[in-house]
């Protein structure tokens, strides 16, 4: 092989000739390497388009969610170093100037999402406040020297980007070549020079916010992962920079994944040099909820996930990393898999586009539509003539398809509106019988008819007990849902809701009068026990019947009935819909396989039960044991499981030889030839060294010819 050598580990291959690139190199791979048909190219383009749209939507959402945080941060930055800018010399300032203004951003445990946040933050700060934004990571700064070096080079680098005058550039080149020892003193003289020069210059290119900033823009230092910095480095750095604070307007931004206490724990002494303002970012769960709302609970994007696939992604999020970025990655994979494996996904696009595509469907594609389970179900319900027509007549089929895709679209529109309304109703119930988050409710609805679930009835019961103000708040929310949705399908319901609201409003006014009149108490007179009981019973009955009669309760029941009707009418699961397969991704196991793989289990299965992979009858075994014809490594593995921490290699090898000779059908009584024995021994050696490579055993010096086991209890 060209890639094996005893003296080299890296092999570089460069094609001899630069072949001209094919116009659609990536799409080429989309169709399993077969000649690129128009169809699969279109499919790939649709896929890419859809993904780009969803991605940009997700990014927009992220920006929007960060906006709040960033605004606060900017406000904080503007407040800080006010005195510095005024060049005030009063005593108070002198004292205070030892404190570095610090913003502590509590970002949560989803470390993988932070990068994006910081990227946005840096860009925004550069645009609005200061060119001197430095972001540092713990791994770049093993000691103060490196930290200062990074800091200085980034600050000056920023500056050069802005100025881009020739002499500056030369200077910069000189500096970077020299890689001289950076210090704070050096930095502060440099800063003074630059700001003075700038002060004399009147033009300013980017920064427009306030005239104050022009003169002396602050130096913002972002420490991305405060937890991984070493205490010593941070402490030294903070003490040094606090000394220079009257020359350099430094602001620190700390990214915190755990909790703000970490600052005090990391910096027990230097914390007194910091003037900390705590800023909390949005929790990742809310972020996910918003993301689902924007990407999946909408008719904007035709692509949907079925219950299991969504559950897989949500489980990865909840149980593994809380990372929204990973969720988006999973979504990307789902889209890709869907378009890759489902040929009819070509119809997974906007409604007008679908119509056009339906008309240009080829005969094969029509045939595969006919084979869709959901379409077959649909055909079965038709009259015989129509059945024949839809199975034979292409034009008729296309007409049907058009109608069906429209109805699927409408179904989704209604589905999401009703889902959101139902969520508004049930999310505030005690104990959350239908889930607190909309994703839980959505999953339940995707799985089966929600009104058949156990929790549905109790939830309705609870709804019938809502207080008026709660109910009104919910109704307001529902009206909001209707208003924000583009569809006009449930227009009458929206009207109804408003009516209800109005009625409740009027009830409020009339209620006071009613209260006055309705509560006339019959004074309890002195009677015997029997009469007392009787009268109490009567009163109870009266009260219960009375209660039903209050206007509010009647209205409330009406509202609950209405939502119940809506649910039963619109919230049936999507797999009952014709053409369900076209837009729903169903490969939950592929997602799990590729995103949340279990290599140890795979390894163990391969070793323990080779039949799982090699479908040979000889390897089949009913219980835990494995047949003696199994691959060498499996036999060696099985034998080593019998041992405790130390394994005697000789015994192991003999046991191995016993198994292998039995497998080879040689007569065990006759002594096998020396050569065969040698070969078996060689096979054993190989199996052992493979187990060593896999990390099951390691050589040990505790006893001669022994190896140590590294696993216990199977795998």
């Amino acid at each position: 092989m060209a890639t094996s050598s005893v003296s080299k580990g890296c092999f570089v291959f460069k094609p001899d000739f630069k072949r001209k690139k094919i116009s659609f190199p990536i799409a080429d791979y989309f169709n399993e390497g077969e000649s690129l048909s128009e169809d699969s190219k279109l499919r790939f383009d649709t896929c890419q388009l859809l993904w780009q749209q969803m991605k940009s939507e997700a990014e927009e959402l992220q920006e929007e969610l960060n906006k709040n945080l960033f605004d606060k941060l900017i406000e904080f930055l503007e407040k800080s170093h006010l005195e510095f800018r005024k060049k005030s010399t009063n005593w108070n300032y002198q004292i205070k100037s030892r404190e570095i203004p610090t913003a502590a951003l509590v970002l949560g445990v989803n470390v993988t999402d932070h990068d994006l946040t910081f990227k946005g933050l840096t860009a925004m700060l550069r645009d609005t406040i200061t060119p001197y934004v430095v972001s540092l990571q713990a791994k770049e700064c093993p000691d103060v020297k490196h930290l200062l070096q990074k800091l200085a080079s980034q600050v000056m680098g920023c500056h050069i980007d802005m100025e881009s005058t020739e002499e500056e550039e030369e200077e910069c080149v000189q500096l970077s070549q020299k890689k001289m020892h950076y210090s704070m003193a050096f930095l502060s003289t440099w800063y003074r020079n630059v700001t003075q020069k700038k002060g004399s210059e009147s033009v300013n290119k980017k920064i427009t916010s306030s005239s104050q900033w022009k003169k002396s823009p602050p130096i913002v230092i972002i420490l991305k992962d405060i937890e991984s910095f070493s205490t010593k480095v941070l402490q030294d750095f903070i003490i040094i920079s606090s000394q220079y604070l009257h020359q350099l307007p430094i602001v620190l931004v700390l990214g915190i994944a755990t909790s703000p206490i970490i600052i005090h724990r990391l910096l027990p002494h230097a914390v007194s040099f910091l003037c900390i303002e705590l800023l909390q970012s949005l929790s990742c769960k809310e972020h996910l909820a918003k993301l689902l709302d924007k990407l999946l609970l909408t008719t904007r994007f035709p692509f949907k996930l079925n219950e299991k696939a969504l559950q897989v992604l949500i489980n990865i999020f909840l149980y593994h990393d809380f990372s929204v970025q990973n969720f988006i990655k999973g979504l990307q994979l789902a889209i890709l898999e869907h378009f890759y494996s489902q040929p009819l996904s070509i119809l997974c696009c906007d409604l007008p586009e679908v119509k056009r595509r339906i008309h240009s469907l080829s005969e094969d594609q029509c045939e595969s539509i006919r084979r869709l389970p959901s379409f077959m179900r649909y055909v079965e319900k038709q009259t015989p003539e129509k059945q024949v027509a839809s199975l034979t007549n292409e034009r008729f089929l296309k007409g049907r398809m058009e109608r069906k895709s429209l109805s699927l679209h409408i179904y989704h529109e209604n589905f999401f509106i009703v889902l959101k309304c139902l969520h508004a109703f049930t999310s505030s119930l005690p104990k959350y019988p239908l889930g607190r988050q909309i994703r839980e409710l959505y999953c339940a609805c995707l799985e089966k008819n929600i009104w058949e679930s156990q929790e549905y009835e109790p939830a309705l019961q609870l709804l019938r007990m809502l207080a008026k103000d709660e109910l009104m708040a919910i109704l307001h929310k529902c009206v909001e849902v209707f208003r924000s949705s583009p569809g006009k399908q449930l227009g009458s319901t929206a009207e109804k809701l408003k009516e209800f609201l109005a009625q409740f409003q009027s009830l409020e006014e009339s209620n006071e009068e009613e209260n006055g009149s309705g509560s006339q108490q019959k004074g309890l007179q002195k009677t015997d026990l029997y009469h007392l009981q009787k009268s109490l019973l009567e009163m109870k009955e009266l009260r219960s019947s009375n209660k039903k009669q209050t206007k509010f309760e009647v209205q409330r029941d009406k509202v609950v009935d209405m939502i119940d009707n809506l649910v039963r009418k619109y919230l049936f699961p999507p797999d009952t819909q014709t053409l369900y397969e076209v837009v729903y991704f169903t490969g939950a196991h592929t997602l799990r396989e590729h995103l949340n793989a279990a290599p140890r289990i795979a390894l163990h299965t391969a070793l323990n039960n080779p039949y799982h992979y090699l479908k040979n009858q000889a390897l089949k075994s009913e219980d835990d044991s494995i047949p003696n014809v199994a691959p060498d490594i499996c036999i060696a593995y099985k034998l080593h499981l019998e041992c405790s921490r130390l394994i005697n290699v000789v015994d192991w090898s003999e046991a191995f030889a016993t198994v292998v000779t039995a497998a080879e059908e040689t007569d065990p009584n006759s002594t096998a030839s020396e050569e065969i024995k040698e070969i078996i021994h060689a096979r054993f050696i190989r199996a052992v060294s493979e187990l060593e490579l896999l990390g099951f055993i390691k050589p040990t010096k505790q006893k001669t010819d022994h190896v140590a086991r590294l696993t216990w209890g199977g795998c």
């Binding site: 580990g9 094609p15 391969a606 003696n628 691959p631 005697n648 990390g695």
Partner: protein, 640 residues
Amino acid sequence: MSGVQSRVSPSPWVTSRATLVASWLRTRAVLREWTLPPTLKFSGLGRFGEVLGAQCLAPRETLIVMSHLKQQKVKMLEVQFVGDDDVLNHILDKEEGAKFRKDRAQVLVNVKKLMKKQENDQDEDDQDDLKDENYVDILGADSQEYLKNGCVASGGNKVYSFQTRKKPEKMAELAYEIAKTSGKSVPLICKNTEKMASTPQSSKKQSTSEKDQLKSDEKNEFLSTPYRLRKRLTAVSTFPSDTESEYSDSNSEDDKGIKQEEEKISEVLMDQKRLTKHSSLSSSSCKKVSAKKMKKDTTTDLVEEYFEAHSSSKVLTSDRTLQKLKRTKLDQQTLHNLLSKFSPPFSAELKQLNEQYERLFHKWMLQLHLGFNIVLYGLGSKKELLEKFRASMLQDSVHVVINGFFPGITVKSILNSITEEILEHMGTFRSVLDQLDWIINRFKDDSSLELFLLIHNLDSQMLRGDKSQQILGQLSSLPKIYLIASIDHINAPLMWDHSKQSLYNWLWYETTTYRPYTEETSYENSLLVQQCGTLALSSLIHVFRSLTPNARGIFRLLIKYQLENEENPSYIGLSFQDFYQQCREAFLVNSDLTLRAQLTEFRDHKLLRTKKGTDGVEYLLIPIDTGTLSDFLEKEDKEA
């Protein structure tokens, strides 16, 4: 029936396992609450040492007292072969005792089974951390039987008591078991199955009474017992079983003292045990019932198993070495030749498996281009598969193949090959991070650059470090660098934390190929492969022959000294002054300087290493293993 034959089947003790696991778990839970004094240390019986230690502190748990006594008996054990009479006597005792215990009646099905059971107890090893149940069973069953018998029992005691040194046979047993499991009939099997037929009654009874109690995993165990039975018979007839004297503790030096200590303690405990005898009988049985619930807690059980397995420093294995077997270490070349004579089975299925993976190539390319990176896992070498991928998909693109298993590979060398050979940059970099930055900037600036990285064994010794993974991760996160890698180690995924995983942006693909790791293991300094022995010997001879007679003498002196000190573990080398003295006495050198000049020669050939000791004295050492050295001396002496 002779004693040998009665060691037939372990099945009876399997039956009571389910209940006893429970009681053992309970016992352990109790033990865990007592602390073990650091001064008390027991050897010889692994887990029992710990149990005993706890017992000394608070001897309330009678169960343990019993087991402790058993341990004492092990020390006295001498006789291996037991006559029928002895065995029968004790069985009668047992049966009387059995009437006490109704809930465990199925254990005492018949005389025959009991007999087997006792024998079996002797056979089993309590060290096995996997089969913890066995241990539990033995512990529980024996202690109860012991109670019934009273504390003094002469000959039979040895039979019933614990013996803990059977590890190797256990493996041999399993070997026989597996050897017989295939459909192919080996003449031996026929013989065995006949024997099987004679004892079906017992196993049947068990199965009906026990099945509901057994958990699924235990069921498997249970089902396999007939195999054990067969194999045991074959073991007797065919396996050249080794004499007991070959087994020993891994560190037997300090055994004696501890044994004495143990015996003292056991005497004290003996009295206490008598007192608690009766109460324990009832308490242990009800404990069993209540403790069944505890079984559910399997995760803590696993954790405990780990500490059980690692708490004791003693592991009993046989003393046999490869030297006795006359099967010397093979060198790489002979190994390779031998293996080439052997053709692996199931080639059709393997081919099918591979074709299945090859169909994924296009998908991989697509996903690589879309920003994912691909990692392959599963048993079997994936080098061939990746090589095929390279040949079929990457011929027209720039790519680097990196053999992670190559012992000399470093991140630096990977980055160097990228900067020097692909980006054609001739300058040097101050640090790896600088180099990385430079590469990242290059790829950002020039959007036409594309690079495929194929890394075999991303989890290898050299690359698994945190820094290496960080750098490779950053490299792979570039949109125009496509990484496809393979991992093999079971713990490989532990290399990556969340942030690294997001850098890599992996898509996992299982590719179990069952291909031998020929190349991957060929570099490794494997246990049984004499890696460079012959090479070292031949080069040693080569260098030696080119030396002057004086220099030869000097070197020979050093070798001899080193061989003399072979046994000394704290040997750090021969000090220079001593060596000079010896050389002078042998008239090999006349001054300090000439000796140094000679030594330089050796050092250049890497035949000598000098080390400064703690006292500042220079020590000389030949960095070659003693086997090679003595071989060398032998050869030289022959020629001389």
